[in-house]
């Protein structure tokens, strides 16, 4: 099992704890990853499509040349790449145009065969939950966890690939909480937006969304939240205190990245999963996990 690993910008920028925890977990599971180092940011839905499609075509072409499927660790990277991939594979004329105008210069051509999968999907669809279960060393009993998917692991339909898995993919994060031995603290906003995309355009609305989701999670008894999207993490963790102040309430909910959560069940210590790098203190989670044997 080998992947062209696309870590994205944030796992090496604003959430530097995500990159090492992902690599450690992949290594523990014997998932072989070859990092794509000479590729661009996806554009993250900020760059217009006429710029992001060509740079994503280049990334997809590079993975194709490596002969490997891609693995992402960010819902946003996943979604933007998958949407570009959909346009490029479903419209041969468009692909030819992009190849000719943007990739030929570098001697590249995208033929349309690269599959892009988030690590969460890899665990369920390629690695297999039965295999994963055999490696659990520390069931995370005592953690009450709310899932938070990040929009692009749920929508749009063509980016979740219209396969028989497409509906199942909408519940993987819910499922993995129980599989790792923790308890699900469900929230109605788990598939909604965290507000990050409008942080600079409309900060008030963005923070209101953070307070809404984390507040609901707290209310439903969660002691932490888990997300496969580092952009959600930036807002839910990094701006939680400001969101709480705006909403007039203290929230104080630790937000874990998916690989950190899985990693702790596989036996890594919270420290080894770099949870101390978060803005909201994770000490409540650490206490529970450290007491588990």
């Amino acid at each position: 099992m080998k992947y062209a690993f696309y870590p994205g910008c944030v796992s090496k920028g604003g959430c530097p704890e995500l990159y090492p925890s992902s690599v450690k977990v992949a290594d523990k599971l014997n998932i072989e990853i070859e990092e794509m180092k000479d590729v661009a940011c996806t554009g993250a839905g900020v760059l217009p499509q006429y710029l992001s499609d060509p740079i994503n075509a280049r990334t997809l072409a590079k993975a194709e040349k490596m002969g490997l499927p891609m693995m992402t660790i960010c819902s946003t990277c996943q979604g933007v790449l998958a949407q570009a991939n959909y346009r490029l594979t479903s419209d041969a004329e468009y692909r030819t145009k992009i190849n000719r105008e943007y990739l030929a210069d570098e001697g590249l051509e995208y033929k349309g065969t690269t599959e892009v999968k988030h690590m969460l999907w890899v665990l369920f669809e390629d690695y297999g939950i039965d295999n994963l279960k055999t490696l659990i060393r520390k069931p995370l009993k005592g953690l009450k966890v709310s899932p938070f998917y990040g929009c692009f692991l749920r929508r749009p339909a063509e980016a979740i690939t219209p396969t028989k898995e497409s509906n199942a993919r909408k519940s993987y994060l819910d499922q993995i909480i129980g599989i790792m031995g923790a308890e699900l603290a469900d929230i109605s906003g788990k598939g909604k937006c965290c507000g990050f995309p409008i942080l600079s355009a409309n900060e008030e609305n963005s923070l209101a969304m953070v307070a809404k989701h984390t507040g609901e999670s707290k209310q439903n008894g969660a002691n932490c939240m888990v997300t496969p999207c580092p952009l959600c993490h930036l807002n839910l963790d990094g701006n939680q205190a400001r969101a709480g102040a705006q909403a007039g309430k203290e929230i104080d909910l630790p937000i874990l990245h998916l690989p950190q959560f899985v990693g702790m069940a596989l036996g890594f210590s919270p420290e080894e999963m770099s949870v101390k790098r978060h803005i909201v203190s994770t000490s409540a989670v650490e206490k529970i996990v450290d007491m588990l044997t």
Binding site: G13, G14, A40, L47, P48, Y50, P156, A157, P197, N202
Partner: protein, 319 residues
Amino acid sequence: MQVTFKVYRKDPEKDGKPGRSNYTVDVPDGATVLESLFKIRDEIDSSLAFRCSCLRGHCGDCMVRVNGSSRLTCTAKVTAYTQKGPEISLDPLRNVSVIKDLVYDWDAFMWNKIGTVKPWLEASDATADAENVIADAQMKDLRKVMSCYQCGMCDEGCTILPVDIDFVGPAALTKAYRFVFDPRNQNAKEQLKTVEGPKGIWDCVHCYEADEHCPRGIEPTKRIIALRDEAYRVGITNEKVARHHKSFAASVTESGWVDEGRLAIESEGLTNVSGLMKLLPTAAKALMRGKAPIPYVHAKRPGAEQIKKIIEKGEAENK
């Protein structure tokens, strides 16, 4: 089949407080929720208020929440909602002010907002009095958008409206798309400006909920993204957004990837002291927790030169 409908009630002529009435009716196989509502009103409670018009899923007037999800009652079959038991809840939409029972304020919900995007065509003077003939192929994309029957399902699904009722919303923005991209429009750039300000296109989080809710497959989110891409192409006028986009594009062009430290600062604006000050507590914590390297560096990626070439070419070709 006996079904109990638990219906949201509110009567401004009484106390105006929200409540719920339960009605148990016998409905035939294949009955729709709307037919059940008629039966309740005719046989049990003539004071129950709800809306409907075309009765065939074409007008959107009868939309309410059936067991929590927005549906047109005229096409929603009762049996589709009774699998867990013979009970169905009916509520008005979430992002609306209710007038009475299931009747809500359409003006505030959608019509006034559609009015703000100037939903009309400004053709050139030369064609003002003449027929403006256009090739069929040029209208292909717009025809899809024009099939919108303004049911408001996209606004119901919207993630922003529950936190900000003044957001223009996907329905009105889709209407703006229909005119901005009309090849006959002589004033597209001005029209684009009507949705570029606060509460417009840049307030959308592009979460694709609207697309999932649209019963016609019009994909309002993709229309909003197209409006944003067009604004980017012709020059964004919303200052805050322009700063953010400019910084984002510059760091990807120069290094291949996003420099988040730079983006946070440049998005606020280098001369915006209060904006920069509010970043400080989080920035200080981030540095303390080792989130950012000290001294701060953002290295160029291998391949950055090629990425720069592609972006510059894309910019030039879409001028």
